[in-house]
């Protein structure tokens, strides 16, 4: 069997977030959840807020991935992340409060409330909380 690892690079405009050979990577896209092993079909997807799970030979790593897009090639995956955080960088209390607030806003359904924005905020908060677990 061919090599089961592939090269994963997660870059943000400010830093190189992660770069190493990995076995599998999972994250949310606009079309649903996606898990990638080596030798995937070339694909470009848009990220939607969720947990990024990186599986390497040493174990699993999680991060909250909020926005960006990913370019998948057979032996290389590049995630261009606009916003991404390691669990250590997340403030749990703030995330919980943000979730609460977003839920209230969606429930209220006032005219003044931007529903799309509230939904994105909710998704982000949930992604953060999940990444912490």
């Amino acid at each position: 069997m061919a090599d089961t690892t592939f090269h994963l690079k997660v870059v943000t405009p400010e830093r190189i977030f992660f770069e190493a050979p990995v076995e599998m990577v999972e994250f949310n896209t606009t079309e649903g959840e996606l898990g990638i092993y080596a030798n995937h079909v070339p694909l470009t997807v848009i990220v939607s807020p969720g947990v990024l799970t990186i599986t390497t030979s040493e174990g699993e790593k999680k991060a909250a991935l909020h926005a960006g897009f990913a370019e998948i090639l057979q032996d290389k995956v590049t995630i261009l992340a606009e916003l991404i955080e390691w669990p250590g960088e997340i403030d749990e209390n703030r995330a919980t409060a943000a979730e609460q607030r977003a839920r209230e806003r969606i429930a209220a359904r006032d005219d003044g409330v931007d529903l799309d924005r509230a939904e994105v905020a909710l998704k982000r908060a949930i992604a953060r909380i999940q990444a912490l677990k």
Binding site: I16, P42, A67, F69, L73, L80, E82
Partner: protein
């Protein structure tokens, strides 16, 4: 001829100014280094972004979206990046000149000013300042540029503005900074894409897009635009410090030159007064004998 005391005082003044400009030059040099490092760190991101958008556009030539078609309104948004502080030579006025000397009509423009100097210069010339975000020049993160772009592209989507431009200073190298005016949106098919074109590995892989090309384009283009803005901010910071470094270097050199010529003048005046005193003493002695 000025008196010895005047020249001495003047020289002391020039000397202390020279010290200040020298210190400012050192500060800008350090800041320039930092800005350059930052630019290097984000290079990978921009390059991948550029390649992706390029391949997307080449695949889906005629996409019917506000981002890729001409709008009816002639109203334009211009993001102007200048510095908050002066003493940087022609840095700020060069960027402002791009706008005042362009073909744009004054009434058509909504200025989004990043940098106090640019805002002041344009306001004085009667341009409409839609928004000022000068705090960004002190410190900015990618998230900030995302928010700005969201606001402006939102106005484009609503049809309030037809085009979005960006005026900033391109950092070519330490000594050469080029004031640049680029069009961010809409991206028309005949336009060249902005980005660095180096080591363009054109492997003929067939890339699939999920969602479909057109939808993907709609989602990626705002990201592309905000990454351009972020890159421009980094370059502008580097250019600002580069320009200030040069201006301060010139000022320091001029101060040194002035000190040299003042020292010469001072010595001449001193010599003159000694000669005069001697002549007077000799003349006095002769008169007595």
């Amino acid at each position: 001829m000025a008196s010895m005391r005047d020249i001495k005082r003047r020289r002391a003044g020039v000397e202390s100014t020279g010290q200040i400009t020298k210190a400012m030059k050192l500060v800008s040099t350090v800041k320039l280094q930092r800005a350059k490092e930052r630019a290097l760190r984000s290079k990978t991101y921009f390059h991948s972004m550029y390649l992706t958008v390029k391949s997307l556009l080449s695949k889906s030539g005629n996409v019917d979206s506000v981002y890729t078609t001409k709008q009816e309104t002639s109203q334009k948004a211009v993001i102007v990046i200048t510095s908050n502080r002066g003493l940087a030579g022609g840095y700020n006025s060069n960027v402002v000149k791009l706008i005042t000397q362009s073909d744009f009509k004054k009434e058509d423009l909504d200025i989004y000013a990043i940098g106090k100097k640019g805002r002041e210069l344009l306001e004085r010339r009667g341009y409409h300042i839609e928004e000022e975000m000068s705090d960004l020049m002190e410190e900015f993160e990618y998230a900030d540029t995302m928010k700005i772009c969201e606001r402006i592209t939102h106005r484009l989507e609503k049809g309030e503005i037809g085009e979005i431009y960006l005026a900033y200073t391109n950092f070519k190298n330490t000594v050469s900074h080029i004031p640049t005016l680029i069009k961010l949106l809409p991206i028309l098919p005949e336009d060249e894409l902005i980005g660095d074109d180096e080591d363009d590995d054109d492997d003929d892989l067939i890339m699939n897009f999920e969602p479909e090309d057109t939808d993907a384009l709609k989602m990626i283009i705002p990201k592309y635009v905000s990454s351009l803005l972020y890159g421009a901010l980094i370059e502008a910071t580097a250019s600002e410090n580069g320009a200030r470094m040069q201006a301060m270097d010139n000022a320091t050199n001029n101060a040194e030159e002035m000190i040299a010529s003042l020292t010469l003048k001072y010595n001449r005046a001193r010599q003159g007064s000694i000669t005069q005193e001697l002549t007077e003493i000799i003349a006095g002695a002769e008169a007595i004998s």
